[in-house]
């Protein structure tokens, strides 16, 4: 029963990835931007153009190009960037590492903070501390990421001179320099992601708190603290893992904004530059990486909530 459901969900996730690849390919193929023309420049003769087109496979019908694109992508051949003609894999390589370091650190910092604050707010609902947390997180999720980033720059970099206002890396920083450069983007993302997670953790726990067995525990006279830590928390783990995976997926859009504002040399910055120069092969590759990660994390969230549901453990 359970394995079946998980397998089914994984199959759906895989199908989604295929559909996503079709959407990305179609959307970026609407305009037949001629790569051959761009590589060879205006002075190219029709013969050399045609030869290069054939070499790049541009003369083939759409579905053939789609499958060869998909096949190449599956084995790691991401194609050639329109601008400069470098391979996309070489462009993406280092950038992806930077973005993953950032996302990993954000997850490492924000998950424990969010669960602790969410639990704590759920333990004391209605108190002014709970209200401050609820109101604060509501405001945070209502404003754009760049609002939080600009406020942080204003306070920490301009007024207090504690941190640099950009996170541009040259590649040979010392560890402390790296830490200082990363501090501001990290802080922005931690605030954005935690706000959502705190809200959802709190709501998840309060939801479990309204179930009959908790009522029973209350009637028995078990203290609220103990109810939450011993009874509610373990039953809310499923939803909370779900929340964590979902929010790491939301990181995708946060990363796009934060890398731009702090000039952080990550994958998202590369993609934005690609969109601005309309370098479609590059945009395709980056979009596939981001969307793939997103689909994978959502899949993880769903599998977590299936696994954590004890009712699915016993076949009926």
């Amino acid at each position: 029963m359970m394995t079946q459901m998980v397998l089914r969900r994984i199959a759906i996730g895989f199908a989604t990835l295929i559909v996503v690849s079709i959407i990305v390919f179609l959307a970026t193929s609407i305009l037949p931007g001629d790569v051959a023309q761009i590589i060879l420049g205006q002075s190219a003769t029709p013969e050399t153009l045609a030869a290069l087109r054939a070499e790049l496979g541009m003369d083939q019908p759409g579905y053939v190009r789609y499958f060869s694109w998909l096949g190449n992508m599956a084995v790691g051949d991401l194609g050639i960037s329109k601008a400069g003609g470098a391979t996309i894999a070489s462009l993406i390589g280092g950038r992806m590492g930077n973005t993953m370091v950032m996302a990993g650190l954000v997850a490492l910092i924000s998950i424990p903070i969010s669960i602790a604050l969410g639990l704590w707010a759920a333990m004391h609902p209605g108190t002014w501390l709970d209200r401050v947390v609820t109101f604060g997180t509501m405001c945070t999720i209502s404003v754009p990421e760049f609002f939080i980033a600009t406020i942080l720059v204003l306070i920490l970099a301009v007024e207090l001179h504690w941190l640099p206002s950009t996170a541009y890396l040259t590649g040979n920083e010392s560890f402390t320099e790296l830490l200082r450069a990363l501090a501001m983007p990290l802080l922005t993302l931690v605030i954005v992601v935690s706000a959502q997670m705190i809200r959802m953790t709190r709501a998840g726990i309060l939801n479990v708190m309204s179930s009959p067995y908790i009522e029973m525990a209350i009637l028995k006279g078990v203290p609220r603290r103990r109810i939450i830590l011993r009874h509610a928390f373990f039953n809310a783990i499923g939803p909370i893992v779900n929340v964590i995976a979902l929010n790491l997926a939301y990181l995708v859009s946060g990363v796009v904004i934060v890398e731009t504002i702090f000039a952080y040399p990550g994958l998202a910055k590369l993609m934005i530059d690609g969109v601005q120069t309309r370098d479609l092969p590059l945009v395709q590759a980056c979009a596939m990486i981001f969307c793939g990660t997103y689909v994978l994390l959502i899949l993880l969230a769903d599998v977590a909530s299936i696994l954590s549901n004890p009712r699915l453990r016993q076949p009926k």
Binding site: I23, I30, F147, T150, Y250, V252, V256, L280, Y294
Partner: protein
């Protein structure tokens, strides 16, 4: 005397007409807002008024480089200082309200039109129509919104029509899900069964039974959706891919004036602050309404 009696009689009849006195009278749908809610309504109303009359009250034109220098603090009648080209920040915020809120509102309305039409259609018709629309919908929902925006703009370039269309399609998917779920809930109610038994047509049922019952949750959701669209549009503008200069838009204003932040200029802060007041106010109103009416379905499904 008779005159007075008559008015009293009329009053009684009027009262009976509203069914207030009947024991099973439906609860009144009057929404009482808390003081926070009232302030929020005032803030949203303020920005909507600015949208409409903005250009006639702005001290300068949005594109006039009237200031003495760029990134100046407030002086004379440049109440919020000047931006990176020496334009009046306040005037640009006032003009920008039109772009930011106008585009978002248009996109959300269009998203609602598409989402509700398809959602109710899927719920009422069921079968393969439902299957087909739902699968396509799920595929779009499976992508991060900002990525979809970036892909479309990379392919088509950026213009206001493309922005509105893209945002509308992206956010129509969530509206579709809610409208479909609400529609399905309502379609199995007894009063719909009764209407079907009476021989009412599909359109009559949609108009008279489904839409009125789905209206309230959808209205709450509209607020939330508008917030998401404002954030989406201003994020794209912030990335330089939304509303194009020299037109003023709150998102692009933050981008343009980011440089000034290091000299201590607030030109980038004010437009960001304007967005924040608008979106937080809408969220507070929605919170207030769903807390009072218990209609938190929309909130749960976000």
């Amino acid at each position: 005397m008779t005159e007075e009696n008559k008015t009293k009689e009329e009053e009684v009849i009027a009262k009976l007409d509203t069914f207030d006195e009947l024991p099973d009278a439906p609860p009144k749908r009057r929404i009482k807002l808390s003081w926070v809610g009232k302030i929020s309504v005032a803030v949203v109303a303020f920005w909507l008024v600015i949208c409409i009359i903005g250009p006639s009250i702005a001290p300068y034109h949005e594109m006039d480089m009237e200031g003495d220098d760029s990134f100046l603090d407030a002086y004379d009648n440049f109440y919020l200082g000047t931006d990176y080209l020496g334009r009046d920040t306040l005037s640009r915020i006032i003009y920008g309200a039109r772009n930011t809120i106008g585009i978002s509102l248009a996109s959300t309305l269009l998203a609602y039109l598409m989402g509700i039409t398809l959602g109710i259609l899927a719920a009422v018709k069921g079968g393969w129509i439902d299957m087909g629309i739902s699968r396509v919908n799920d595929a779009i929902l499976a992508l991060p919104t900002i990525m979809l925006g970036l892909i479309v703009i990379a392919a088509l370039g950026s213009s206001i029509a493309i922005l509105v269309g893209t945002a509308a399609v992206i956010y129509a998917t969530s509206v579709f899900r809610i409208a479909r779920a609400l529609g399905q809930d309502i379609m199995v109610q007894d009063f719909v069964e009764a209407a079907k038994a009476r021989g009412e047509g599909v359109w009559w049922i949609i108009r008279a039974e489904v839409l009125p019952n789905a209206a309230m949750p959808l209205a709450t959701d509209f607020g939330l959706r508008l917030v998401f669209v404002v954030l989406f549009i201003s994020s794209l503008s912030f990335l330089g891919l939304g509303v194009q200069p020299p037109a003023s838009d709150w998102g692009s204003m933050v981008r343009e004036n980011l440089q000034g932040l290091t000299y201590g200029s607030y030109a980038a802060i004010w437009p960001a602050f304007a967005i924040a007041t608008f979106t937080i106010a809408i969220n507070l109103i929605v919170d207030d309404i769903s807390a009072k009416s218990g209609g938190s379905l929309a909130k749960k499904m976000v």
